[in-house]
Symmetry: C2
Subunit: 118 residues, 2 copies
C-alpha cells in the first residue's frame, strides 16, 4: 500500500498511459458492485442453479433434487441469486418457483463458456 517509489522510479513509469487510463475509470462503487456481481457467478452451486433454470422455472425442491443437495443449501443460494437480481420468484400456493431474471445471465454464462472452451 506504500513504498511504491522504492520500486518504481519516476522516470520509468509510463506517465502518459497512466494519466490517460486514470481519466476513464468507472468510479469505485461501480467497480465494487461489478466484482460483487461476478462473485455470485463464481460458485459451482450457483452456476448449476442458473443452468438448471435455463430451461424452465423450477421450485426449490426440484432444484435440490436435480443438484442432489439439501433444500436449505439451495434456498440460501437462491437468496444470493435473488439479491443479485439474477433470478426472481413467484409463489403458487405452498410452492415457490424460481426463474431467470433476464437475458444477461445467459449472455454472461455463454461468454464464459466460450472462453474456457477455447
Amino acid at each position: 500500500m506504500q513504498e511504491r517509489a522504492e520500486y518504481c522510479q519516476e522516470h520509468h513509469v509510463h506517465a502518459d498511459r497512466v494519466a490517460h487510463v486514470k481519466g476513464d475509470m468507472p468510479d469505485e462503487v461501480r467497480l465494487y458492485d461489478l466484482a460483487e456481481l461476478f462473485k455470485v457467478f463464481g460458485d459451482t452451486t450457483r452456476i448449476r442453479i442458473l443452468y438448471v433454470l435455463f430451461e424452465s422455472e423450477l421450485c426449490v425442491c426440484d432444484i435440490a433434487q436435480l443438484l442432489d443437495m439439501s433444500q436449505s443449501a439451495i434456498s440460501h443460494q437462491l437468496r444470493v441469486l435473488k439479491q443479485a437480481r439474477l433470478v426472481r420468484s413467484r409463489r403458487e400456493g405452498k410452492t415457490v418457483f424460481y426463474f431467470l431474471a433476464d437475458d444477461h445471465v445467459r449472455t454472461i454464462i455463454g461468454q464464459g463458456m466460450e472462453h474456457i472452451e477455447e
Copy 2:
C-alpha cells in the same frame, strides 16, 4: 445432502421438467471451470486491473501506481489473471508488460456493467 424425501414428496416434484433439464446439463468439470473463471472476475482488485488494461498494456509498476497498491499484491493478482488466460504478458528488458488476452474479457465485463446499471 440427504433426507430430501422428507421434504419433497414424489407427487409434488415436477418430474417432467426435472427429467428434461437433467438431459442437457453440461458436465460437472465444465461447470466447475466456469465457476472458477467467474471467481477470477469476482474481486475488486482484479476487476480494476482488467479495466486499467482496457486502454493499453501496462507494466506491473504502472498498475500498482494506478491502483495505489503494493507491487506484490498486483503481481499476485496478475498471476491469477494469467492462469485464467484473461491477460498475457511480454517482457521488455527488466519490465514486464501485461495486456488483455482476448475480447471475452470486454464482453463479460460489459454485460456485467449493463446488468448492474439496470
